[in-house]
C-alpha cells in the first residue's frame, strides 16, 4: 500500500501541472483521501470505503427503501450535531392505523406541559445549546423511556426572515437534531418522528427580536398507542 502511494503521488502532482485549477484541486482532494485511508489503515483504524457496484443487481439496493450515497465523507460522525440517524420505517399514518381525519397525535396535555416544553434555536442554527433546553431533552427522554408505547412528533419551526423553501429544510434539521439528542439519551429512535413546518406556522406575527426567537422553536405532539 505504501509503495503504491509513493508511486502514485508524484504522478498525480506531475499530471496536475498540465491541467486546470478545478481538476488539480479535485485530484489533490482525492490524493488526500487516499493518504487518510492509508494512515488509518496503518494505525489499525477501520475505514469506510466508497463502493463501486459491480452489477445492475446491486442497483436494486440493500434493505433500505432508498439507494444511499456511499461516500465515506458522509459518514463523518465527528460532529455530534450532524449525526445521520435514519427515520423510522413505519410512517405516522401506518402507526395511527390508517385512520384518516383523526388527529391521534395531539398536543401534550397540561399535566405534561413541564415535560414537553418548547425549545428555541439561534438564528440560522439547528443546535440546542441552552441549559434549560437540555434539561427538557432529559425530561422528555426520561418520560419516553418509561412509556415505550408513546410516540413523539418533533416539529421544527423557523422565523420569517429566510425564504420559505430554505426554512422548510432548516426546520427538518432542527427537528432531527432534537431527535438525535433524545436517542443519545437512550430513547428508541422508532418512537420519534420529525416534521418541519419551516416558517409556515408562526406563533407570533411581530418583527421584533423576541418574535423571531419565539418562532424559532421545536414543539411536540404525542400519541399513546394502546
Amino acid at each position: 500500500m505504501r509503495k503504491i502511494l509513493l508511486l502514485t503521488l508524484p504522478l498525480i502532482f506531475l499530471c496536475s501541472c498540465q491541467r486546470n485549477t478545478n481538476e488539480t484541486w479535485e485530484d489533490v482532494k482525492t490524493a488526500g483521501r487516499y493518504i487518510k485511508k492509508s494512515v488509518f489503515a496503518l494505525l489499525g483504524f477501520e475505514t469506510d470505503e466508497s463502493k463501486q457496484l459491480a452489477s445492475n443487481d446491486e442497483f436494486s439496493g440493500p434493505q433500505n427503501d432508498f439507494i444511499p450515497l456511499e461516500d465515506s465523507d458522509l459518514k463523518t460522525q465527528k460532529f455530534t450535531s450532524d449525526v445521520s440517524l435514519p427515520q423510522p420505517k413505519k410512517s405516522t399514518k401506518q402507526l395511527q392505523g390508517f385512520a384518516p381525519g383523526m388527529d391521534q397525535f395531539i398536543n401534550p396535555p397540561s399535566n405534561l406541559a413541564n415535560v414537553f416544553r418548547l425549545m428555541h434555536f439561534e438564528t440560522d442554527n439547528h443546535v440546542i445549546k441552552e441549559k434549560d433546553d437540555l434539561i427538557t431533552i432529559a425530561r422528555i427522554a426520561h418520560y419516553l423511556k418509561k412509556k415505550p408505547n408513546t410516540y413523539l412528533v418533533i416539529e421544527g419551526h423557523c422565523d420569517q426572515r429566510a425564504s420559505a423553501d430554505y426554512n422548510l429544510a432548516l426546520g427538518m434539521r432542527r427537528a432531527q437534531h432534537v431527535r438525535v439528542l433524545l436517542t443519545k439519551q437512550g430513547v428508541n429512535p422508532n418512537q420519534l418522528y420529525t416534521v418541519s413546518y419551516g416558517k409556515e406556522k408562526p406563533v407570533t406575527l411581530g418583527n421584533s427580536t423576541k418574535d423571531f426567537f419565539l418562532n424559532r422553536r421545536a414543539q411536540f405532539k404525542i400519541y399513546h398507542k394502546e
Binding site: 457496484l53 445492475n56 439507494i67 450515497l69 465523507d73 458522509l74 427515520q87 434539521r173
Partner: protein
C-alpha cells in the same frame, strides 16, 4: 424577427381619447399599440370598459409588446403609422355584442381580420374567451404559445380557529377565476403541475409527517407517491414528468433525492453533505442536470449537478456553484429553453428575484423595492415568471415579463398566496 409595433389607443366612444401609457420595453425595444373602437354596443358602458381592460391587459403579456403614449390617432391610416415607424396596428372593435380583432401590416398594407367573438355579457365567461382570442392572435403572428390560457397553481394559507391551514388553489394567469382545489382541512403546499396538465403534486401534512401526494384535479385527495420513510418536501418535476426531485430526511439529514416515476426503482439519494441543508431544486429542460439549494459552503447558494446516469457509482456528484453575487440564494427555477435560471436572493437586506444567464454566466436583478419576493416560476413562453411577495405575513402573487421592469400583482384579498407555478 419582425419588429412588431402596435399603437395603443383607447376609445370609449367613436371619438378618439387620450391613450393610457404603460412603458414596457421589449427585447427589441419595440413599442406596442392597440386601437380600441366601440360601435353601437349592446352591453352597458361599465361592462365595455372592463372588456377593454382585459384586452389591454392581455396584449401587454405577449412576449414582444410595448405600449407607448400617443395623442394623435388616425385609425388604420397606413401612412400615419408608417411615419411613426409601426410595423403592425391591432384594432379591437366592439360592435353590438361582438368583439372583432383586426391586424394591419403597415409594411405591406395587408389587413387581417379574426373571426368575431360573441360577448355573452357575463364578464367571467367573456374573460376566458378573450384570453383564448388574444392567445390565438399572438400565435398567428409570433408563432409562440402565450401564457393567456395557462393556469397558475399555488397554496393559500389562512388561519382557522387559531390553526394555520393551507390548501391548493388554481387561477388564470391574470389571477382571476381563483378556485380551491384541495379540501384537506390541514396543511397542503408546494404544488406542481404534471406536464399532462391533468394531475399535480403537492405536499400534504395530513398524517403529521409531510408526504408528496399525486392527485388529479377531479380527485384532489390523491395518494402518496412514495413509500420512502421520513418527511418529504419541496418537490420538483422534470419536463417529461418522468422524474421528481425532492428533499427528505429519510437518511437523517435534509438531503436531495431523485425518484424515477417509470418503473419500480427506489429513490436515489442524490446529494448530501456533512453539516449541510439542501433545499428546493429545479430540473434542466433536457433532464440531464438539476439546480438545487445547499448551504454546504455557509450561506444557502444554488448549485447545479449532473444527474447520474451511470447507476453503478454512488459517490457524491460534483456540484457547480452558480450564484456568487449574493447571499441566501434560494428557490431556483430553470427556464424552459434552458438558458436562464430565476431565483430569489437577499439583496441589501431584501429578497429579490434574480436571473442567471447560462450563456453569459452573469446574474441580473429583476425586482427592486423593499418587499421580499420569492419562489419564481417560469411560463412556457420563456418570457414571463410568476412569484410571490412575503411582507409582514401578507403574500400575494405577481407576474412579470423578464425584459420589462414592471411587475403586476394578480391576487388580492384574504389569505397568503405562495409557491406559485405556471402550467406548462
Amino acid at each position: 424577427m419582425n419588429v412588431l409595433r402596435i399603437l395603443f389607443l383607447f376609445l370609449s366612444t367613436l371619438t378618439f381619447a387620450d391613450i393610457i401609457s404603460v412603458d414596457l420595453k421589449t427585447q427589441n425595444k419595440s413599442p406596442t399599440y392597440l386601437l380600441l373602437r366601440v360601435e353601437s354596443p349592446m352591453h352597458p358602458a361599465s361592462y365595455i370598459k372592463e372588456i377593454q381592460k382585459i384586452v389591454q391587459f392581455d396584449l401587454q403579456f405577449s412576449p414582444f409588446s410595448e405600449v407607448i403614449e400617443s395623442k394623435k390617432t388616425s385609425g388604420l391610416d397606413r401612412p400615419f403609422w408608417k411615419t411613426i415607424g409601426a410595423s403592425y396596428v391591432v384594432r379591437s372593435h366592439i360592435r353590438k355584442d361582438s368583439l372583432f380583432l383586426e391586424v394591419l401590416n403597415v409594411k405591406t398594407g395587408a389587413l387581417r381580420a379574426f373571426l368575431p367573438l360573441t360577448l355573452s355579457g357575463t364578464l367571467t365567461d367573456d374573460r376566458t374567451l378573450i384570453h383564448q382570442y388574444i392567445s390565438d392572435l399572438i400565435f398567428a403572428f409570433f408563432k409562440v404559445k402565450s401564457i393567456h390560457t395557462k393556469k397558475i397553481l399555488y397554496s393559500l394559507r389562512t388561519k382557522k380557529e387559531d390553526q394555520w391551514i393551507s390548501e391548493i388553489w388554481v387561477c388564470d394567469f391574470d389571477g382571476h377565476h381563483a378556485k380551491q382545489i384541495t379540501f384537506n382541512d390541514s396543511y397542503s403546499t408546494c404544488a406542481k403541475f404534471f406536464p399532462d396538465g391533468k394531475s399535480f403534486l403537492y405536499v400534504s401534512y395530513q398524517n403529521e409527517q409531510p408526504k408528496i401526494i399525486k392527485a388529479k384535479f377531479n380527485e384532489p385527495k390523491g395518494e402518496e407517491l412514495l413509500t420512502l420513510r421520513g418527511s418529504q418536501a419541496l418537490p420538483s418535476i422534470s419536463r417529461t414528468g418522468r422524474e421528481i426531485a425532492f428533499i427528505s430526511d429519510a437518511a437523517g439529514r435534509p438531503d436531495l433525492f431523485l425518484q424515477y416515476l417509470d418503473g419500480q426503482k427506489k429513490p436515489l439519494q442524490l446529494f448530501s453533505y456533512p453539516r449541510a441543508t439542501q433545499a428546493s431544486s429545479s430540473f434542466s429542460p433536457d433532464g440531464k442536470k438539476i439546480a438545487f439549494v445547499s448551504d454546504k459552503d455557509g450561506s444557502p447558494r444554488i448549485y447545479t449537478l449532473n444527474i447520474p446516469r451511470n447507476k453503478k457509482s454512488f459517490k457524491t456528484p460534483k456540484a457547480l456553484l452558480i450564484t456568487k453575487q449574493n447571499r441566501q440564494n434560494t428557490s431556483p427555477s430553470w427556464s424552459p429553453d434552458g438558458k436562464k435560471l430565476a431565483y430569489s436572493a437577499k439583496t441589501k437586506g431584501v429578497r429579490q428575484i434574480w436571473l442567471y444567464d447560462f450563456d453569459k454566466r452573469d446574474e441580473k436583478q429583476l425586482t427592486f423595492g423593499n418587499i421580499n419576493m420569492e419562489n419564481p416560476a417560469w411560463s412556457s413562453d420563456n418570457a414571463h415568471i410568476v412569484f410571490n411577495s412575503e411582507n409582514d405575513f401578507i403574500s400575494e402573487l405577481y407576474i412579470m415579463n423578464i425584459n420589462q421592469k414592471k411587475i403586476i400583482k394578480i391576487t388580492s384579498g384574504p389569505g397568503d398566496k405562495r409557491f406559485p407555478v405556471f402550467e406548462q
